[in-house]
Amino acid sequence: MNVVIVGCGRVGGFLAGLLDTEGHHVSVVDIASTSPARAERAWFQHLPSTFKGETILGDGTDLEILRQAGVEKADALLALTEGDNRNLMAAQIAQKIFGVRRVVAKVNDPVRAQIYRRQGIDTFSRTTILGTLLFAMLMEDREVGEVLIKKSLEHEKELAHEPAPAG
């Protein structure tokens, strides 16, 4: 699969690594912030050192940047920046302008997540997913999170053995 990931925070970097390891072609876009504090840091610090895909520095809601990231040939785009609105804009551009078949936007506001899902944009809200999981754990409802937690623990184990990225 060709996958574009917009936003390379912890989640974006982690997912890009997973997909890359599985042999998918991944392009990661992260915004070129103008703040000096950020500029000194490695832009893609959350990517594993083994990552073989592309990294593009730019605004993931900009058509030209998305084109550079290969959105025209992408099978999926995941918008995972810290901004709900930016994620919704990038996902809609991918779906409605570039015709990407599978788009997912991280939308932490559950109300917005639901409204856009009804408009045909796949959204997930960390708020409700994490909240539901934690609630189930507290209530000792093992069924809700069993598979999810087992898989996450496996990934964590793999990540712990990964050498720290250079720089």
Partner: protein
Amino acid sequence: MYFIVAGAGEVGFHLAQALLEAGHEVTVIEADRRRASFVQEKLGSIVLNEAADEGRAQMEAGCSRADALVAVTGDDAKNLVICQLAKHHCHTPRVIARVNNPKNEIVFKTLGIDETISSTRVLMSVIEQELPTGGFLPLMPLTGSQLELIEAEIAPGTPAAGRTVGGLKLPSGAVVGGLVRRGKVVHPHDETKLEVGDRVIVFAPTATEGEVRKALFG
């Protein structure tokens, strides 16, 4: 009429003030507490100190009875979502978005927000109107369409001079809607021959502005 102004920066503040002066009812939604209290001090209790991109804040502002919502923050993605929420969640009959990056006008239209205002484009059209650009003046975009109103003065030695209206190589979708000859309005027909000094009014899809220019001036 009742208007909701989302975002109380310079644009939002002065827009709200102008709407109030024109006798309209206005609610301003502004997330920044200090900015919100500044506006409240100047314009009265018309401010909602909430984030306008939250559906709840829009409901509280009465988005379902508003005649229009105008999103004028400095963040294009936010303006897009504010307008889409109002349109889909509140069914506000008219939503208008400010776009800061003029390239986003076409993006917003594709994503269902037809009315956009780009200050860059407004400034460009003002500048172009004041410059002697061979008499080619993009007058204004037509609200709610992707059309543009263009005025052009036929200059000597151009492809249009001496040609009939029907013979102009205008792009598809563009029509000559009017003709001013020696200060008088003439209804143009396909056979009307254009003379130097005629001023033609052309309706054209915004994207074809360059082609219209080429058809008239070469």
